[in-house]
Each structure stands twice: as C-alpha cells, then as structure tokens.
Symmetry: C2
Subunit: 210 residues, 2 copies
DNA sequence: TAGTATACTTAACGCTGTTAAGTGATAGCA
DNA sequence: TGCTATCACTTAACAGCGTTAAGTATACTA
C-alpha cells in the first residue's frame, strides 16, 4: 500500500496545480484591487493579467465578491499579526491599547484601497453578504484582540468604565472614523494626519482613565 | 415697457417648466437613492419613474454623479439647519456640542443610504471629483458650524486643549466612526446603538474637559 | 407662413458580472 | 492498446450599465 494517502501521484499533482492557479488568481486580484480599487477592476482585467479567460475565475471563486473576501482575509491576517506583535512587546495595557489603535489606523493609511474594500465599501452588503466579520474570520480575530486589550485595561483598574464590549466598539469606531475620513476625503484640509490620529487616541484614553 | 424684466411670458413660462422638470428628476433620484442606494439605481430606472427617456436626464444633469451631488446638497442643507436649531436653543456650549454630534450621528442612522452616498462611498472620488466638501457647499457649512461650536467651548475655557481645527476634526471623526460602522456593518453584534453613540461623545468630551 | 431653435427620443457604443454550451486533452478502465 | 468519461478551460452570449450622436417632432420668431 505504498500509494495510500500519499501526497504524490497524478491526482495529487493536479490538485496542487489547481491550488497554485487559485493563488495566482488571488495574487492578481489583490494587486489590482489594492492599486486601483475594487470598483475599477473588472473580472476581464484580472483574467487578462493572468492570461486566462474570464470564466476560468468562476471555476475557482463563486463571484467577484468572494474574490474580494478572500483578499480581505489575507489583509486582516496581516493586521492581526501586527497587533499581536505589539501586545507581546509591551507590558503596560494602556500603552498597548494605544499602540494597537495607532497600528490599525496607520495600516489603513498605508493600504487605503485595501482598507476601503475591507472596512468602508462592502459591496453587496444589503444582500446579507457581510461575511467580513463573521465568526472565525480574520476580521473577528482583530476585533477579539482589541477586545482583550481593553479587557486588560479594565482588569487592572486603569479605566473608569467597565463595559468591555462598548468600550472596544468605541475605540474601534474612533480609529475607523479617523482612518476612513482621511482615506475617503483626501482633498479636505486636514490638520497633520499623525496629529489627528494621536489626538483621537489620547483624548479617548484620557476620557476613560480612572 | 411692461414686459421688460418681468416674470411672465412664454419664455419665462418655459424656464419655469424646465426648472420644474429638474426638480422632478431630483425628487425621483433622491427617493430611489435613499431607498435602494446609489449603486443599485440606474439612470434608466430614474427615467422610468418620471416617464421620460434616460437621455432627458442628461439635459438637466451632467452625469449620474452630479445628480447624486445635487441630492447630497439638499441632505446637507437639512442637517445644517438641524444643527443650527440646536445651537440657538442651548446656552451651554459643551452641551450644544454634544447635542450637535448626537444629531449628526442620528441623522446618519435615520437616512443610512443618504449617509452612505454623502459621507462613506464617494463614487468617482479618485478622479478628483470630491465636490461634496468644497468651499461654499452645504457640507462645508455643517463643518463650519461644528467648528464654531468647538471654538465656543475653547473660548469659554471649558476644554484643556486649544487647537480648534484638530478638535473639530476629531469630533467629526468620532461621530462618523460610530455612524459609518453602524450603517455599513449592520450584522455585527453591536451593543445598544444609543449607548455607543453616547459613550463616544461623552468619552471624547470628558477627555477634553479642563 | 417659412424657418429656426428647443425639448425630447431612438439607437447605439463599449463596458460590466455572469452563465450555458462547447472543445480538447487527459486519466482510468476494458 | 483503445474507448469512454471526466476535467480544465474557452467561446459566445445575456441582460444590464453610463453615456453620446443623431434624429424628430413641436413651439416660437420673423
């Protein structure tokens, strides 16, 4: 029984090739989505880039939104990793929370089109396809991490208020407000971006402190 | 010279009729945009609704985005009025600021599709068509009003910090963060909406207080 | 009353996401 | 080794989109 449950053989080779093409499609889509924005990229353009016919993509992804969803999961995973690194380095929970929020906003500013499609636009939302923050997703992992941060601050009695869930959502909303406005309204006469980010985080934390 | 610079006559009548049709188009567009969202409404659907051919719309508006822009101006005007009413009623500037922010967020939640197109989505943004907050626009009027609110708080030494512009933008970002997340992620397990709104505003103001 | 300007429509262009049907190679079995 | 069925992929098409060029009546002017 040499070939039972092996990773070799023609069947396995084809499976690997399928997986490889899936990744090629995903890479092409990510590159185009990030550089030009979801709405400005057509399935035909992605197909052109990888030198396959447009319909081939549909053999690997249900539709355009699914493609976007897969790309977003990768992005979220990166962000989650980044935030977890910050937690490991720092001891003070309040400082960790601040740095985490900062990392979140700057991540958004660094990859604006990515942030757009992941946190702002949500195409086909109204159709109940809001998978981006479902249980077990990378987005939820980011949220849970932020939540743990906030919880630690409360546990150590650094905050005056105690509703973990509400406080987490408020911190998220504060970061998202700054990030999304800076991204979607680049022509507005903003004060210095870094200053605005710091101000939001500092004021929120100040307002919470015991 | 009875007819010199009069408001009557065939020429004037036609002008009035033109203006009337413009408003009919605008009303139809607003209704569809608000109930179904900008992206899900086609020019042909608007045309059907008013029983004209699609091309007629282009005699009154440059393109779909212009139509949206006109609708947004109306929305902004409503919001501006609402905020100005609050200022007139209240004496305490901090309370006024809080109520103004609250009004802003609740306005967004009441007209989510309107808020989407006005503050979140911005189609054709990347093409430099970000007219929504240009000088003299209704959007800018709202912002200026908020700014005046903040300025009054600072003048009366109710706040610890003094950068009017930065503080205004932070308050806006806080409100926008809550509004946009609640609108774009309705499936997320939010805490009570009212509570989240109040929390954000209270914590921000607390963090600013002298 | 003839001619022109105005208000609107018809038909089309080049896109879009998506799908049904078709093709050609390959793998497994007789 | 030869047949068949499966698999990976493509071609062609559908129904829709925003937008525009060209055409047609109608109403006003001279």
């Amino acid at each position: 029984m040499l070939n039972a449950q092996t990773t070799r053989g023609p069947k396995q080779r084809r499976e690997r090739e399928k997986e490889a093409l899936r990744q090629v499609i995903l890479d092409a889509a990510r590159e185009l989505f990030v550089s030009e924005g979801y709405e400005n990229v057509s399935m035909r353009r992605i197909a052109d880039k990888i030198e396959y016919s447009p319909t081939t993509i549909y053999l690997y992804f249900e539709d355009k939104a699914s493609l976007l969803f897969a790309v977003c999961e990768e992005t979220f995973a990166k962000l989650a990793k980044r935030m977890e690194n910050i937690s490991r380095k720092n001891e003070d929970p309040v400082e960790t929370l601040k740095r985490g929020c900062r990392a979140y906003v700057e991540f958004g500013l660094k990859y604006p089109n990515h942030y757009r499609v992941t946190f702002i636009n949500h195409p086909d939302l109204h159709l109940g396809r809001d998978n981006y923050l479902r249980e077990g997703s990378m987005g939820m992992r980011c949220y849970s991490h932020l939540r743990a941060n906030v919880e630690e601050c409360i546990k150590q009695k650094r905050f005056r208020r105690g509703d973990v869930e509400a406080l987490t959502q408020m911190m998220w909303a504060g970061g998202h407000g700054v990030a999304s406005l800076l991204i979607t309204k680049p022509d507005f006469p903003w004060v210095n971006k870094e200053k605005l980010i710091d101000l939001m985080i500092d004021v929120l934390v100040d307002g919470l402190k015991a």
